[in-house]
C-alpha cells in the first residue's frame, strides 16, 4: 500500500467536508457506540468478530471526520480516537468497508439511534476511490462497463447471437414464428435492461421475460449498445463513473424513443438507476422507470397476462434482494406477483424489510479476495432457506441468484433458484 499523495488526501477529505445537505453531518455525529447493532449484521453474527460490527465500520469513517473536520478531534485526537489517514487506516478501511459490508442496510432500521450505516460505508468507499484504493477486482468490473458498455465485457456479436438463439427457442415454445425479442427497435413503449449474467450464464431468463411480453402484447425492445442495468461504480464509490454509466442508459432511452425504462432483475442496478442516478446526474428523469416486479404487478392487475398458479405447485420461498425490498420499497409488490403465480409459499424468518442479505451484495461477488468470507456470511441465509423446507427460492435479482447458487452448492441445500420472471413465465396461460 502506497502513502496517499496530498492531492488524493485532499480529494478524500473533501468528501467528508461536502455539505449539500444535513445527511452526512448527521450520520457522522450520531453513533453513540452502544454496540447493539452487532446482532443485526450477518458479518458479526457469523464471525463474532467485533470489527465486523456495523458501528465499527461507521467509526472508521467518523474517526477520520473527527480528526480532520472537528476542532475537538484536531486538538485532542486521542480523546475521541480521531484517526489520521495513513497506510494502516487505509488498509483497515478497505477490509471493513469493501470486505465486510454488503451495504444491505439491515442494521439501519435496528440501530438504537437510526444511523444510516451503509450511507457512511459508501462515503468511506468514495474516499477510498478518491485515494485510488478500490480493490482491483471490483475496479476491473467498473472498467469493463466503462470500456465495453457491459460489466462482463460481452462482445456485441456474442450478445446478439445469444438473443437470436433465445428468440428461436421462444418461437419453438410458443409455436409462433412472430414471437420476437426485438433488438434496437425504435419508438417502442419499453426499453428493457438486464444483468449481463443473463446472456452469459442464464439466457433462459431472457426468454422468460420475452414470453411474458409476448403474452402481454407489449411494445418493447432491448438496446444492443446499452442493455446492462448494473452499475458497479455505485459499489466502488466512484460517483463520476457511476454518473457516466447512468447517463449512457438515460441517453439510450431518449435515442430509442421509449417512454419507460424497465429495470430488469438486478437489485443494485435497479436501485442505482431508480434512486441514485438522478442525483449523480443532477436531473429529474423525463421518462418513467419501472422495476420488472412493478411491471409484472401492473400486468396482473390490469389482466394483461393470465396465470395459473397450479402450474407452479412445489414449495416456494422468497428471498428479498435488499435493494428491491428494504431499500426499494417493493416488499409487498414482490409478494403480490409471486402469490398470483405459485400455490405454496413459505416465508423465511425474518423476511421482507427485515430480510438478511444473501451475502453477495455490495459488490462482494465481484471481489474474489473475499470469497471465503462471503460464503461464510451466506450461511445465515442458507440456514434460513433450509428452515423453510422449500424446494425453490424465488428472487428478482441475478446477483442474489449467483450467491444463492453458490450457497446451494456449499451448504448442500438441494434447492432450485428461480427469478420472478421465470416463475411468472412458468405460470402463464397463453391463448384460449
Amino acid at each position: 500500500m502506497k502513502e496517499p499523495t496530498s492531492q488524493q488526501l485532499d480529494n478524500a477529505l473533501s468528501i467528508l467536508r461536502q455539505n449539500k445537505d444535513s445527511k452526512l453531518l448527521t450520520h457522522l455525529n450520531s453513533c453513540v457506540h452502544c454496540g447493539l447493532c452487532g446482532t443485526s449484521c450477518m458479518y458479526y453474527l457469523t464471525t463474532d468478530d467485533p470489527k465486523m460490527m456495523p458501528a465499527y465500520k461507521v467509526d472508521i469513517v467518523a474517526s477520520i471526520y473527527r480528526r480532520y473536520c472537528t476542532k475537538f478531534g484536531k486538538l485532542f485526537p486521542a480523546w475521541v480516537k480521531a484517526r489520521e489517514i495513513n497506510e494502516y487506516t487505509i488498509e483497515e478501511m478497505i477490509d471493513a468497508l469493501f470486505g465486510s459490508c454488503t451495504m444491505c442496510g439491515r442494521c439501519v432500521k435496528h440501530c438504537s439511534i437510526g444511523v444510516d450505516i451503509p450511507f457512511i460505508v459508501r462515503t468511506g468507499r468514495m474516499m477510498l476511490a478518491a485515494l485510488d484504493c478500490v480493490p482491483d477486482s471490483l475496479q476491473a468490473t467498473v472498467n469493463a462497463a466503462m470500456e465495453t458498455g457491459n460489466n462482463m465485457a460481452i462482445p456485441t456479436p456474442e450478445f446478439v447471437d445469444t438473443i437470436q438463439w433465445m428468440e428461436e427457442e421462444l418461437q419453438d415454445e410458443l409455436n409462433d414464428p412472430e414471437a420476437k425479442i426485438p433488438l434496437d427497435a425504435p419508438n417502442k413503449r419499453l426499453l428493457y435492461t438486464l444483468n449481463p449474467r443473463e446472456p452469459k450464464f442464464f439466457p433462459l431468463s431472457i426468454s422468460a421475460v420475452a414470453k411474458i411480453f409476448y403474452a402481454a402484447k407489449e411494445s418493447w425492445t432491448i438496446s444492443t449498445a446499452m442493455y446492462d442495468i448494473t452499475n458497479y461504480a455505485f459499489f466502488s464509490g466512484d460517483n463520476k463513473k457511476a454518473g457516466i454509466i447512468a447517463q449512457r442508459l438515460k441517453d439510450e432511452v431518449k435515442k430509442m424513443g421509449c417512454d419507460t425504462l424497465v429495470l430488469g432483475e438486478c437489485g443494485h442496478g435497479s436501485r442505482a438507476v431508480r434512486w441514485e442516478a438522478p442525483n449523480w446526474l443532477g436531473i429529474k428523469f423525463d421518462f418513467k422507470t419501472l422495476n420488472l416486479v412493478e411491471l409484472l404487478g401492473n400486468y396482473l392487475r390490469e389482466g394483461r397476462i393470465k396465470v395459473d398458479k397450479s402450474l407452479n405447485n412445489q414449495m416456494f420461498t422468497i428471498h428479498d434482494p435488499c435493494n428491491i425490498s428494504r431499500n426499494g420499497g417493493l416488499v409487498n409488490e414482490l409478494r403480490f406477483v409471486i402469490n398470483q403465480c405459485v400455490e405454496n409459499v413459505v416465508e423465511m424468518n425474518p423476511h421482507g424489510a427485515d430480510s438478511f442479505c444473501c451475502g453477495g451484495g455490495g459488490g462482494q461477488l465481484a471481489m474474489g479476495e473475499y470469497n471465503e468470507r462471503r460464503l461464510k456470511t451466506g450461511k445465515l441465509k442458507a440456514d434460513q432457506i433450509k428452515a423453510t423446507g422449500a424446494q425453490v427460492v424465488i428472487t428478482p435479482c441475478h446477483n442474489c441468484v449467483d450467491q444463492l447458487m453458490q450457497l446451494n452448492a456449499t451448504y448442500k441445500l438441494g434447492i432450485k433458484i428461480k427469478t420472478v420472471a421465470e416463475i411468472v413465465a412458468d405460470a402463464l396461460v397463453i391463448g384460449n
Binding site: K20, H110, D116, P278, G282, G328
Partner: protein, 224 residues
C-alpha cells in the same frame, strides 16, 4: 455557593447556545435534495420513524438486548429528570419560586439512585465487553461518567431535600458545591462529545424516515 451556582448557569446557557448552533447548522444544510421520483410519502415516513419504528418490539437493538436497552432507557429518563430538577433549582435561585414536597424529593432521589446504578452498569459493560472495546474511546467513558455523576449529585442533593428545606443551613455546603461543579462540567462538555447526540438523534430519525418514507418502505403497507 452563589459563585458555583452562577457558573453552572452560565455553563447551561453555553450548552444550550452550542446545541442550538448544532441544530441551526443542520437546519441550514437542510433536507436531502433528492431528484429521484418519490414512490412513497416522506412526512408519513418521518412520522413512522419517530413513533412506531422506535418501539422496543420494532428494533433488534431493543428486544434482543433487553437488559442493556432497559438500563439505557432508565438512564436517559434519569438524565431528563435531573435536568428538570436543575431548571427548578434555577427558578428557585432567580425568582425564589419553588414547590417543595418532602415525599416528592425522596421519590426523585430514589429514582436518581436507581438511574445512577443503571449508568454504572453501562460503564461496567463498556469496560468489560470485548465487543465494545474496539468502538469505544475516552469520550464514551467520560460522557457516561459525567452524566452518571450529575445524576449522583442530584440524588445526593434531593436526598437531603427530603429532610431539610432547600438551601437551608442544614444542607451540607459541600453537597451543593459538588452538585453545581458537576453540572458545570457536564454542560460545558456536552456540546463537544458524544452527548451532542441529544441534537443529532432527532436529525438521524428524520433522515431515516425521509429515506424509507420516500421509497415507500415506511410506513409498511398492509399485507397484500
Amino acid at each position: 455557593m452563589n459563585y458555583f451556582m452562577y457558573i453552572s448557569y452560565i455553563a447551561l446557557l453555553f450548552c444550550i447556545t452550542m446545541c442550538v448552533l448544532h441544530f441551526l447548522r443542520l437546519v441550514k444544510l437542510g433536507a436531502p435534495k433528492d431528484l429521484s421520483e418519490e414512490s412513497g410519502n416522506v412526512p408519513a415516513g418521518v412520522l413512522y420513524s419517530n413513533t412506531v419504528a422506535m418501539l422496543p418490539n420494532h428494533k433488534e437493538s431493543a428486544y434482543m438486548h433487553l437488559p442493556t436497552f432497559t438500563a439505557g432507557a432508565m438512564f436517559h429518563i434519569g438524565t431528563f429528570l435531573a435536568l428538570f430538577c436543575f431548571v427548578l433549582l434555577f427558578f428557585k435561585a432567580v425568582w425564589g419560586f419553588f414547590f417543595q414536597h418532602e415525599l416528592l424529593s425522596l421519590l426523585v432521589a430514589l429514582y436518581m439512585w436507581f438511574s445512577v446504578c443503571c449508568g454504572k452498569g453501562l460503564i461496567i459493560k463498556r469496560v468489560i465487553s470485548k465487543k465494545l472495546r474496539p468502538i469505544s474511546n475516552a469520550d464514551d467513558y467520560i460522557s457516561v461518567s459525567l452524566t452518571a455523576l450529575f445524576q449522583f449529585a442530584t440524588a445526593l442533593l434531593f436526598t437531603t431535600f427530603a429532610f431539610h428545606d432547600f438551601f437551608s443551613s442544614e444542607v451540607p455546603g459541600w453537597i451543593i458545591i459538588v452538585y453545581f461543579v458537576v453540572s458545570t462540567l457536564l454542560f460545558f462538555y456536552l456540546p463537544f462529545g458524544k452527548l451532542k447526540h441529544a441534537v443529532y438523534y432527532f436529525a438521524a430519525r428524520y433522515h431515516l424516515g425521509f429515506f424509507y418514507g420516500r421509497r415507500g418502505t415506511w410506513p409498511p403497507k398492509s399485507k397484500c
